[in-house]
C-alpha cells in the first residue's frame, strides 16, 4: 500500500507564546476564537522571523473578549526570560461595553485607562533606548492627554516617554526626556500606528512605519520612571487620561527606521486579520 503523502507534511504547531497567551486569557475569564489565536500566532511568527521579538517587553493586542483583552501577549523580552509588570492590565473604569473585537477599546476622557505595572527601571529601559507605541483608531478629542507612556513627575525637563494627542482631534506626539520640546507630527486628524522611539542620539516619532518627526539631541543613558503603577495606556503614570479608541499598544527597546517599518507591517496585518479598524 502506498504511503499517504499527507503523513509526510509536517504539521505546523501553534507558536508557544500564542498558546501561553491563550491559556492566560482563558484563565482570566476571556474567550479566544480560532481566528484570534491564528492572528496572534502569526504575529509571534512574524516578530521572530523579522528578528524583532527581543525589542518588545510588553504587547497587548486587545483580543480574547473583554477579560482576555486585559491579558498582554508579551511581558518580557523573551518568553523564557524575566517577565515584567502585571500579568494582566489593571482596568480602571472600562466596562464590557467599551470593547469589541472589531472596534478595540474605547475610553472616556478623564476616567478610563489601563495600568500595566511596567516600570522603566524594572525592565532596564533607559532614556536612550526605549519605545512606546499605540494604534490609534479614533483620536482623542481633548488636547495634551496621553495615549500611552510613563511620567515620573520629577520636574522640568520631565523625564517622560509618552505618546500624546497634541490638540483636539490631532494625531500624536512623542515627548522625550532631556528637553521640554515636544516632537510632533504636525498633521491634523491622524490615526494609525504611532511609535515614539529614543536612540542614543536621535528621537523619532514614527507614523505607520515611517519617521514623521525627529530630533538629533543626545539622550541620557539614565533609567527613569520607577514609579508605580508603571506605564499607562490611555494615560501615563500620573494620569492625563485621554478618550479615543486604541487597537493595541507596545513598550520596549528603541526601534530603528527599518524595525519600525517592519513592526508596522506586522501589527497592520494583525488588525486586518481580526477585522479591526
Amino acid at each position: 500500500m502506498p504511503m499517504n503523502h499527507r503523513l509526510l507534511v509536517p504539521r505546523q504547531t501553534t507558536h508557544p507564546e500564542a498558546l501561553a497567551w491563550k491559556s492566560a486569557a482563558v484563565a482570566n475569564g476571556g474567550t479566544v476564537s480560532g481566528s484570534e489565536l491564528n492572528a496572534v500566532d502569526r504575529m509571534f511568527r512574524s516578530l521572530d522571523s523579522q528578528g524583532l521579538r527581543s525589542s518588545f517587553c510588553r504587547i497587548n493586542l486587545f483580543v480574547g473578549g473583554f477579560n482576555g483583552a486585559l491579558v498582554p501577549q508579551v511581558r518580557g523580552f523573551s518568553r523564557s526570560g524575566t517577565q515584567y509588570g502585571n500579568a494582566t492590565d489593571t482596568n480602571s473604569n472600562f466596562v464590557s461595553g467599551d470593547y469589541s473585537l472589531p472596534t478595540g477599546l474605547t475610553s472616556l476622557v478623564t476616567t478610563k485607562c489601563l495600568t500595566t505595572g511596567l516600570t522603566m527601571s524594572a525592565a532596564g529601559l533607559l532614556q536612550d533606548s526605549v519605545h512606546v507605541s499605540t494604534w490609534v483608531l479614533t483620536a482623542g478629542t481633548t488636547a495634551d492627554r496621553s495615549y500611552a507612556g510613563w511620567d515620573d513627575g520629577s520636574g522640568t525637563p520631565r523625564p517622560v516617554f509618552r505618546l500624546r494627542n497634541r490638540l483636539a482631534g490631532v494625531g500624536a506626539r512623542w515627548t522625550y526626556g532631556l528637553t521640554s520640546t515636544n516632537l510632533q507630527d504636525g498633521v491634523d486628524g491622524r490615526t494609525g500606528w504611532f511609535c515614539g522611539s529614543n536612540q542614543s542620539t536621535r528621537c523619532d516619532l514614527f507614523w505607520n512605519g515611517a519617521s514623521v518627526a525627529s530630533v538629533g539631541s543626545p539622550m541620557s543613558t539614565s533609567t527613569q520612571s520607577a514609579m508605580p503603577p508603571g506605564a499607562g495606556v490611555f494615560c501615563d503614570t500620573l494620569g492625563s487620561i485621554t478618550d479615543g479608541r486604541l487597537g493595541m499598544y507596545s513598550f520596549g527597546l528603541q526601534l530603528s527606521a527599518a524595525q519600525a517599518a517592519a513592526a508596522y507591517s506586522i501589527f497592520s496585518a494583525f488588525l486586518t486579520a481580526i477585522g479591526r479598524s
Binding site: S96, G97, T111, G239
Partner: protein, 103 residues
C-alpha cells in the same frame, strides 16, 4: 433620572449620566471592591471640585447578573448607595473636574 431608572437603562443611556457621591461612600465602595472585585474592572472615582467623587454611570452595566461588579454590588449597602448618590448629567460632572496641570 434616578439610580433605579439607570439600573434598567442601556449602555448608551448610561454613558450620558454620572454617579456623584461623597468621600465616605467612595471609601466604602473601595473596600467592597477589595473584598469582592478583581483588576478586570476597578471602579476608580474621579475627584470633583466640590470634594465629591464621580463615576460614569456605565459602571452600572457591570452590576447586573454576570457582570464584573455583581458580587461587589450585591454585598454592598444598596440603601446607602441610593441615598448618597446624585445622578448628574455627564457633561455637568465633567465640568466639575479640576483642570489638570499644564504640560
Amino acid at each position: 433620572m434616578t439610580l433605579q431608572q439607570l439600573l434598567a437603562a442601556d449602555i448608551d443611556t448610561l454613558r450620558q449620566w454620572s454617579l456623584v457621591f461623597p468621600a465616605a461612600l467612595a471609601q466604602a465602595t473601595s473596600e467592597k471592591w477589595q473584598q469582592y472585585g478583581s483588576t478586570n474592572c476597578v471602579p476608580v472615582p474621579v475627584l470633583l471640585t466640590d470634594g465629591r467623587y464621580m463615576l460614569c454611570a456605565d459602571v452600572l452595566s457591570e452590576v447586573a447578573p454576570g457582570g464584573l461588579l455583581r458580587a461587589m454590588w450585591v454585598n454592598s449597602d444598596l440603601e446607602a448607595i441610593e441615598a448618597g448618590t446624585e445622578v448628574m448629567a455627564w457633561n455637568d460632572a465633567v465640568a466639575m473636574i479640576p483642570v489638570s496641570e499644564p504640560l
